[in-house]
Symmetry: C2
Subunit: 167 residues, 2 copies
């Protein structure tokens, strides 16, 4: 029985679920590697912007969620990654006074590393656009410009939403 | 050296992180046990209701998220739990056209079990109120009444938001 290289690669990918066939993972944005698995990160907050009609969920990696839940966000710890997932807003058909996610716009991230990213205020700024997750390469200054109103808040708009803490 | 029962219980709770000291876990709502750990569940959607000025994130347990991501939601599979986390909305200080979470209101859940909950449309309906997570006991019909507009949608308002699927 003969195997082609493609079959062997597919078999290997199935055998090791953590792996992904080459090419599936988007390339870097501003030199920052794609934060695989962000879709399953926990929630830190949500927001609705009426100036550009978008709904957002703010997610965090484990370090960011731990910091958010315990109020240790001034500053956010090195290693924390904040993700903002953005959809166009649409009116809910069955509840007119409700707005829900429509088209996916992009996912953008702030990577906290006060040394590595000291020249960009302690954060690495990255964005992947559309469902195809095309890396944004317009320069971190595009991101930083919009965040200038919160330069005294560690450059972060988000206040973690209150969550019940039972332990 | 003597140990009181309380010290032994506390030591046991520390030794087994999955456990919680008695009393920390809220009691049942409508006979349904509290879904521990929902705070860290993944996101299925978000919404903004302007009739009662609340922002929401819709979370799911592993079964619900798997169904949402793969479009297997008609019907939702038995074992799926949908959680709706609700905050009052507030205007963001540093971006006036944005609304963000204020006071925590409640977390409410739909537990899918077509047999066990056959008399309530295949769902168990439960809610825990406030940061103290007081069990709601007003009757499932209170929940069902509001969901009547979506009785032909498996009683679910939420359409899962589109997420990039890279694999």
């Amino acid at each position: 029985m003969k195997y082609t290289a493609q079959v062997l690669i597919s078999a290997l990918a199935m055998a090791l679920p953590g792996m992904s066939p080459a090419g599936d993972i988007p390339g870097p944005s501003h030199g920052i590697a794609y934060p695989e698995g962000w879709q399953e990160w926990s929630t830190i907050a949500v927001s609705h912007r009426t100036d550009n009609n978008t709904l957002r969920v703010i997610l965090g990696n484990a370090a960011a969620v731990k910091a958010a839940r315990s109020g240790q966000t001034d500053p956010w710890p090195d290693g924390a990654i904040l993700g903002k997932v953005v959809w166009k807003d649409v009116q809910l058909e069955n509840w007119e006074e409700a707005t829900a996610p429509g088209e996916f716009v992009h996912a953008e991230f702030m990577f906290r590393d006060s040394d590595k990213h000291s020249e960009t205020h302690g954060w690495g700024w990255a964005r992947w656009v559309g469902l195809e997750q095309k890396p944004f390469d317009g320069g971190m200054q595009v991101c930083i410009a919009c965040h200038t109103p919160v330069k005294d808040r560690n450059w972060v708009f988000t206040d973690p939403a209150p969550f019940p803490q039972l332990r």
